[in-house]
C-alpha cells in the first residue's frame, strides 16, 4: 500500500504480482504500463472520470491481450486525463522516466502520447489509423483515437508495434492488411530520405522555435537526408476541422455515460431524465463539458458547419497524402516550447498545445517523435516525423536510423 501511495501520481492501479504469460514471446521481460483508458480485464478502467467510476472491463483490450501473449509484463494502469482528453494527468511518460517500465501504451486523439513523450525526452509513436485495434479503448473521438506507444528505445517501439498491430475481428474499422513485417535492417538500402517541412507550419513558430527547428533540419541533412520545403496553403484548417469534428464525435461517444449501468449515479433524482442530467452534470469537468457542449451545438444547431468540416477534412487528407509523392517524411517540432499542457484552461488552449500533432490524427497518418533533436532551456520539444499513410514500418525504420548519430553524440 505504501508503494502505491508513492506512485499514485503515476499509477491508478498497480498489479500486485506482475508476471509474464509467455516466456518465449518477442517482448519477454519487457515491462509495460497501460493508460487507465485502455481495458485490462479486472483492472479498474476509469480513465480518470467519475462516469467510469468502478468500471471493471470484462475483457482485455486487443492491444493488451497481444502485449500479454508476446510476453510483456503488465505493471499497472497509468494515470490518464479525463477520458484521455488533453494532458492534464499523464502517468505514462512519468512511469517510464521513473523507471517503472520500459514501454507504455497511451491513447492519442490529438497528440497526447507524442507530446507526453517529447516532454519527457522519450520516443513516441502513433501508428496509422486502422493498423492497431481500438477494441477496449474507452475512446473519445472514434475516427481519430489511436493506441500509441512510448519508450526509451526505438527498437522497443517497433517490437511493440509489431506485436499489437494487425487485423482484429472485434474492430471492423481496421484494415484487412497482413500482419506488419519489419524487413531486417541490413537488407534495406534506402535511397537518401527526403524530409519535407511545411512552410505554413514553420510560420506558426516563434523566432526561437524556428531557429532551433532549422538547426534540427540541418542535423538531419548532415545525417544524410535531403531537406525540402513544401507548401500547404490550408495548414491552418487542420486545427479548426479537428476541433469541430472531434467535439461532435466526443459528444456522441459520451452519450453512453448515463450512470445507469456503471459509473457515478447522482442521488435523489425524481425521474430518469433528472438522473441523466444530474449524473452527467456531476461526472464531467467544466472543460470537458465545454467540448461536449460545442459538439452538441454543431449536432443540433449547425449541422451544415459539421458537414463542411467533414468535406474540409477529406480535402486535407487528400492534399496531405499527395505531399508524400515528393517527400518521404514531414518534419516539425512535436510541441510548442512555451505551453504547459497541464495549464490549458479552455478548449482553445488545449488545441494550442497540440497544434503540431493533431494533423496526423485528422489524416490518420503515422507519426513518430524523436528525443534529442530539439532541446533547449525549456526541455525537449521532440522532433516529429510524419510518414505516409500505412507507411508505419518505413517511418519506424527511418526514425531508428536518424536517432543513431544523435545517441552517439550524447
Amino acid at each position: 500500500m505504501g508503494v502505491r501511495l508513492v506512485k499514485a501520481a503515476v499509477f491508478s492501479y498497480i498489479d500486485p504480482s506482475p508476471s509474464a504469460l509467455n516466456g518465449e514471446g518477442p517482448l519477454f521481460g519487457k515491462r509495460a504500463t497501460v493508460q487507465a483508458s485502455i481495458a485490462v480485464k479486472g483492472w479498474p478502467t476509469e480513465a480518470n472520470s467519475p462516469a467510469l467510476h468502478g468500471y471493471l472491463p470484462l475483457e482485455d483490450a486487443t492491444v493488451v491481450e497481444r502485449l500479454k501473449s508476446a510476453g510483456a509484463i503488465l505493471v499497472g494502469n497509468t494515470q490518464s486525463s479525463e477520458l484521455g482528453f488533453g494532458l492534464f494527468r499523464d502517468g505514462a511518460a512519468r512511469a517510464l522516466m521513473e523507471g517503472h517500465g520500459d514501454v507504455a501504451l497511451m491513447t492519442d486523439t490529438m497528440g497526447e502520447a507524442r507530446v507526453a513523450a517529447a516532454s519527457a525526452g522519450l520516443f513516441g509513436f502513433k501508428p496509422s489509423y486502422g493498423r492497431v485495434s481500438r477494441f477496449g479503448l474507452v475512446g473519445l473521438v472514434p475516427s481519430m483515437d489511436c493506441c500509441s506507444i512510448l519508450g526509451k528505445d526505438p527498437n522497443d517501439l517497433a517490437a511493440v508495434f509489431h506485436a499489437i498491430a494487425g487485423p482484429d475481428e472485434r474492430d471492423p474499422s481496421l484494415a484487412d492488411d497482413p500482419a506488419p513485417n519489419l524487413a531486417p535492417r541490413s537488407d534495406r538500402k534506402a535511397a537518401t530520405p527526403v524530409v519535407g517541412f511545411v512552410a505554413e507550419c514553420l510560420e506558426t513558430l516563434d523566432r526561437a522555435e524556428g531557429t532551433s527547428f532549422r538547426e534540427a533540419l540541418a542535423r538531419l541533412e548532415q545525417a544524410g537526408c535531403e531537406i525540402r520545403e513544401v507548401a500547404f496553403a490550408d495548414f491552418d484548417l487542420f486545427r479548426a476541422a479537428h476541433n469541430l469534428i472531434g467535439s461532435v464525435e466526443a459528444s456522441s461517444s459520451c452519450g453512453k455515460f448515463d450512470g445507469v449501468r456503471y459509473g457515478h449515479r447522482a442521488a435523489g433524482a425524481k425521474n430518469w431524465n433528472e438522473m441523466y442530467l444530474q449524473s452527467r452534470g456531476e461526472s464531467f469537468s467544466l472543460l470537458l463539458k465545454a467540448y461536449l457542449f460545442q459538439g452538441a451545438y454543431f449536432q443540433f444547431r449547425d449541422y451544415p458547419a459539421f458537414e463542411r468540416a467533414c468535406r474540409i477534412r477529406a480535402r486535407l487528407v487528400k492534399e496531405s497524402r499527395s505531399l508524400f509523392r515528393r517527400v518521404d517524411l514531414l518534419a516539425s517540432p512535436t510541441r510548442r516550447a512555451i505551453l504547459d499542457p497541464g495549464r490549458a484552461g479552455t478548449v482553445d488552449e488545449v488545441y494550442d498545445v497540440f497544434s503540431l500533432t493533431l494533423p496526423a490524427n485528422l489524416t490518420g497518418q503515422p507519426a513518430l517523435t524523436l528525443p534529442g533533436f530539439l532541446t533547449d532551456q525549456n526541455g525537449d520539444r521532440g522532433l516529429q516525423l510524419v510518414g505516409p499513410f500505412f507507411g508505419d514500418e518505413q517511418l519506424l525504420e527511418l526514425g531508428w536510423q536518424l536517432s543513431r548519430p544523435v545517441e552517439g553524440a550524447r
Binding site: S252, G255, Y262
Partner: protein, 478 residues
Amino acid sequence: MHYEANEAVIGLEIHVQLSCRTKMFCQCPNQAGDEPNRNTCPICLWLPGNLPRFSEEALEKAVLAGLALNCEIQKESAFDQKVYYYPDLPKGFQLSQFHRPLARNGWLNITDTDGLTRKLRIHKIHMEEDVARLVHEQEGRTPISLVDFNRAGAPLVEIVTEPDMRTPHQAMEFLRCLRTQLRYANSSECSMEQGTMRVDANISIRPQGSEQLNTKVEVKNMNSIRHVGDAIAYEITRQANCLKAGEPIVLHTRLWDPDKRATTAMRGKFEGPCIPDPSVPRIVLDDAWLQEIRRSLPEMPDRKANRFVRQYGLTVEEAGIMSGERDLSEYFEAVVEEKVSPRLAAQWLAIQVLPLLKERNESLAESTVTPVRLGALLRLLEREEINANAAKEVLKTLPESSLSPEVIVADGGYRQVSATADLEAIVDRVLQENPSAVANFRRGAGKAMGFLMGQAMQASGGKAHPRALKEIFEEKLR
C-alpha cells in the same frame, strides 16, 4: 353552400424485424421473447471499449427485402448515429442509415376496391438497430420502469413509402402485399401481433384533386393491419371535422387506442441530428455478391400466380390464394405432383385443408397431412372410389392417424357404393318409408328429391355414389 370533398394523403413508415439468427452488431441471439436481459453482451449493452460488428446476415436479409419490394439497391450505403437520450437507448444514439440508405425507389402493385391495379411507390429502405424494450409497472407503491435489452440491437429495416395512398383500404392492401413479399423472400416474419412489423401512418387531407401536401399527423401503436385501417379512417374523419370547425391541423403524433377505437395526442416529436458513424465501415456491395443474392430470391407471388393460371388452369382467384404464402404455394405444387387435378387440389386446400389446420392450430409445415397423403386421398376421390362426403370424413382422421388414406378408406368402409343392385335396394327402402315425400314429388315439389336423396345417402352411411343414386331415383319415380 358548395361543399368540397376531401381526399386523404397517406404515407407509411414500416419497421420490419429481419429474420436473422443474431442481432445486427453482435452475436447475441435475435430472440426478444426470452427471459429479460438474457440475450445481451458488452456490445449491445454498449459497454466502453466495444465496437459494433455489422452482421452480414442482416445485410443479406435487408437486401432481399429491398429486392422483394422492387427497390434499387445502392452500391454504397453507410450508418449514421441518430442522437437522442432515452432509457431504451444505452449509448445515446441509434445506429441507422439516414444520409445513405441501402435501397431507394421501390414499388408494389395492389388491387384496389374497384378491381384495378394501383402502383404504390416506396421512397427508401434503410437498416437500423432496434432499441431496448421498456416495461412500465404501475402496480405497487411506486410505479417503476424496467428495461429489457433482449431487443436492443435487433436487426430492422425501415420502409418509407411515398405519400401515394388515398384510402385506408389501399394502406391495408399495401401492408398485406408487403408482408407477402417479405415472407416469400424469407426476409421477415412481418407479424404485427408479434411486433416484428410496426407501422406508423402519416396522414393529411386536402381538397379532392388538389396537389398540395398539407400538414401531416403521425399515428402509431396499431397492432394489426385492420387496426391500421381503422386508425387511418378515424384520423381522416378527425381532421375533416377539425377543418369544418375551423381548427388548424398541427404537426404531431397520435396514439391509436384499440379499445376506444380512437387516437389521442402524445408528446411532441423530437427529431435528433444524424451524424455519420465513424466505427461501422461503409457498406460497399460488389456486383457478384448482389447477383448471388438476387438469384437466391424465389419466384415472387405475382409471377407465381400468373404461372398457376397458365400452367394449371386455376382461376385468378384460386391462383391468388395458392400463391399467397410461400409454404402454401409449395405445398400446392407438391400435391399436384401427386397426379391430382390442380383445380381439385386448390379447392380442397382452400376450403378443407386450411380451415382444418386452423382449427387444430397447426401449420402446413408441421402437419402430418403431407402432400403425399393428401394427394392419395384426392386421387381416390377423382377415381370415384370414394365420394366427397367420405373424403371429408377421411381427411378429418388423417392428422391423428399414421395410416395411408387407402388403408383408412378400406378399413373404415368409406368405399363408395356404386353397384346398381345395392343402390336400388336402398332407394326402394327409402321410397317405401317416405310415402308423403313421394307424393310431394309427384305434385311437382322439387325439394322433395333433395330430401329423398339425403335419406338414401344417410342409409348408405354416406357412401353412395351420388350421381348413380340420383339416376335410380329419377328412373323409379318416372
